[in-house]
Symmetry: C2
Subunit: 201 residues, 2 copies
DNA sequence: CGGAGGGTTGATTCCCCTCAAAATCAGTGG
DNA sequence: CCACTGATTTTGAGGGGAATCAACCCTCCG
């Protein structure tokens, strides 16, 4: 899916990882978010009718297609579903906001630590991770484009976090060497993620 | 409205400016967005039941309160309204994403230029601005917290943009000295803002 | 075996921050 | 009328975090 496209469906990611990003005129890339199993793909593009961003697979993926018309029809029949989707969209926005704060006000180390922790939290919710660590197919280039850093600096930051005994990212595996010290260092507060659930009438 | 609060209403801003922001543990502030007349206030906080951010007036403001229950009841009676609100939420998220891209991948000059242009575009839509300029009550401190810069650097950037004959921000007034050159410089593409409107069943 | 993608490390440069100090202005009270 | 205060804007000097440039290594794969 690419920026500017219209007429496409939304999907739910069943397996694999994807990433949504925007391309700038000078060729730079800013990754907005990574999608893991269970996440919506392209919901906003459908609602706004024109995609304002691109989506790309990171690994091989499996998706379930949701046709726009079906979704809107379901809203009409089941208003509570509309509320639930609105809730899901709000939770997505909350994550983008947290990402914005990280890039705007945290240095590279806290930014990286916070990112790895948030990803771990999300993966734990769907049974793909724990406080020990998780499998992570992202390259250092992808991390750089997500965190607003250069790939070289990502490498340095990862090395220093590893040498500090807080977290090790190697061979597609994130291992939390000292979870508590890492959360402390990153000022990580997961409360903005584990939401109560949709507010239903 | 403050981070962590629950039980509050949503509002529509009738007059004045507000800003939504997050506070970090070390006291730094990241402004996520400014709200101008016509914008929703706190919609996400209501849907997620707990506010993940704070909202503060920038000027004196006038708001219209929307009670949560009324909103949800209206969704049940008028599904199209739910779709419309979902659309508005998506548009808000698109603006946050654009903000994220700006902070992640643009230097201070393009960031400032882009920000002033986007604000101008939004104000023009509600009749409070034009390609000539607009009244802007923001201080350089607020700009700094929004753009992820220091107030000192904001000042330098504004001076250089002024000396380059592109835009002048002085005494609460933004004047586009050369709109075309500024949009060119900032790679500003307003298409992500003037959306088609809600997709209705 | 050559090439591509990804990871690692060092040297240098530069953008932006921090610290510091004035200047300007609105309000406030003596 | 004027000193006094606080908020905001302005400008300078110096420092630091991250980018850029440039190698080199490894593994996988046709």
């Amino acid at each position: 899916m690419h920026q500017g496209q219209s007429r496409h469906a939304a999907y739910i990611l069943a397996a694999g990882w994807a990433c949504s990003y925007k391309l700038l005129d000078d060729g730079q890339k800013q990754i907005v978010d990574f999608q893991i199993p269970g996440d919506f793909l392209g919901l906003r593009s459908v609602l706004l009718q024109v995609s304002d961003h691109s989506i790309e697979p990171v690994t091989d993926i499996e998706v379930t297609e949701i046709r726009v018309q079906d979704l809107l029809d379901a809203f009409a029949r089941t208003p509570r579903l509309a509320t639930a989707v609105l809730w899901a969209a709000s939770r997505d926005e909350a994550m983008v906001v947290e990402h914005l704060v990280g890039i705007g006000r945290r240095d590279a180390f806290q930014r990286m630590a916070h990112f790895l922790l948030e990803l771990g939290e999300r993966l734990t919710l769907v049974g793909l991770g724990s406080k020990a660590g998780y499998a992570c197919p992202l390259t250092q280039y992808l991390l750089a484009d997500a965190l607003g850093l250069s790939a070289v600096h990502v490498n340095r930051v990862l090395r220093q976090l590893r040498e500090a005994g807080m977290v090790t990212f190697r061979d597609g595996l994130v291992v939390f060497d000292n979870y508590d010290r890492l959360t402390d260092f990153a000022h990580f507060d997961p409360s903005y993620m584990d939401q109560i659930g949709p507010l239903l009438p």
